[in-house]
Symmetry: C2
Subunit: 193 residues, 2 copies
DNA sequence: AGTAACTCACTATGCCGATAGGTAGTTGAG
DNA sequence: CTCAACTACCTATCGGCATAGTGAGTTACT
């Protein structure tokens, strides 16, 4: 259900095609929400049918065309409404921790490998997100620049601050995971001396 | 796909009925993996059909009966295999952080309410998990006691240590979320002075 | 002129899980 | 004795998402 609000958030900045949006999901929004194109295109159609978006055929090259969507009044309202509604939290489903709880069943080396994979995964995210924060601080984020260009001056501070705040939270998460997995490695060593 | 391994993990301790397992998912395993009964019963049937489990009709009261499952050789092998395989990490999908990234669209009070809900949610989890760690340390966890009763003495240390380690990770996560949301509250105040 | 890489859009299948029911038997408190 | 709460099991529907594939048009490079 969050997909449509992620789409609305992006389209609030400027009209885009399904493909443009898909590209955003591989970079900017992709850091908090992932979606494949096979989910994006039908969702856009549905949102248009429900009146949240309007699509427009735009010529592309000599013979090609593409469909550009923009947010309607109703779409803006729906987004604002979502933003002002408190989120429901999903039930817990943590494969990594489920496995950790039964780690005595794994070969010591497999257990270590699991922890290393955990570290690698979260270190990778950590790096991406830290880079993003750096871009925000230096004002070199193209995505943020586009967003600010479509935002009244008075809101710039908020937009930048919340963006940064979001990445800080993700970074804290990832750091905690890395610390945890490193402690796991030590624990495995200790238990298998 | 983790559901079946969670079920195998529980049934490795002792034979149980679908209902017993469902109860476990409301308490112990429920802390890392949630599943409704409507998912558990069919999965047990499927696992039996695939030879991972064997079910046995057991009388219950004068006329009633229940179906108790135990793990087969093949089931044990499948579980061990899973435990020795490194996990694939799912794509990111974080509703709370998605919303945070666009918090300038929310009314300040709604933004605060969101942060408070975040704090409440994760504080609740924190409390549950801390209680679990206390139980582990004091040896008053009934679930752990049953597990240890079916485990060779030599493995007790590992079982307890990994269990505790798991909860520690969850606690660290929740603490990070609470810290983050508290910073969010301060940020919202600052931006709306 | 050819071709690789990219843009653009869509369809199909299938699993996982949420949600919401339904039915039958048992136990325990008053 | 009876009624509520619990145990036990099952079914149906629906949305979200993964995965995999199709196919047409464009751009850039050699």
């Amino acid at each position: 259900m969050s997909l449509r609000y992620a789409l609305l958030a992006l389209l609030n900045v400027e009209p885009m095609t399904g493909y443009d949006l898909f590209k955003e999901f591989e970079t900017s929004v992709g850091h908090v929400w992932h979606a494949p194109d096979s989910q994006i295109y039908p969702e856009l159609r549905r949102m248009e049918a429900e009146g949240l978006l309007e699509g427009e055929e735009i010529p592309w090259g000599p013979r090609g065309k593409k469909r550009q969507y923009h947010v309607t009044e109703a779409g803006l309202l729906a987004f604002r409404n979502w933003m002002n509604t408190t989120l429901e939290y999903a039930r817990i489903r943590e494969p990594a921790h489920l496995k950790a709880a039964y780690l005595e069943w794994a070969e010591p080396e497999a257990a270590r490998e699991q922890m290393r994979a955990h570290i690698k995964h979260h270190s990778g995210l950590l790096e991406q997100w830290s880079e993003k924060v750096r871009e925000i601080d230096e004002g070199t984020s193209p995505m943020l620049a586009r967003r600010l260009a479509h935002t009244p001056e008075a809101d710039h501070e908020k937009t930048v601050a919340y963006k940064r705040f979001t990445y800080e939270g993700l970074i804290a998460q990832a750091e905690a995971e890395v610390v945890w997995a490193n402690r796991g490695l030590k624990l495995i060593d200790k238990l298998n001396e």
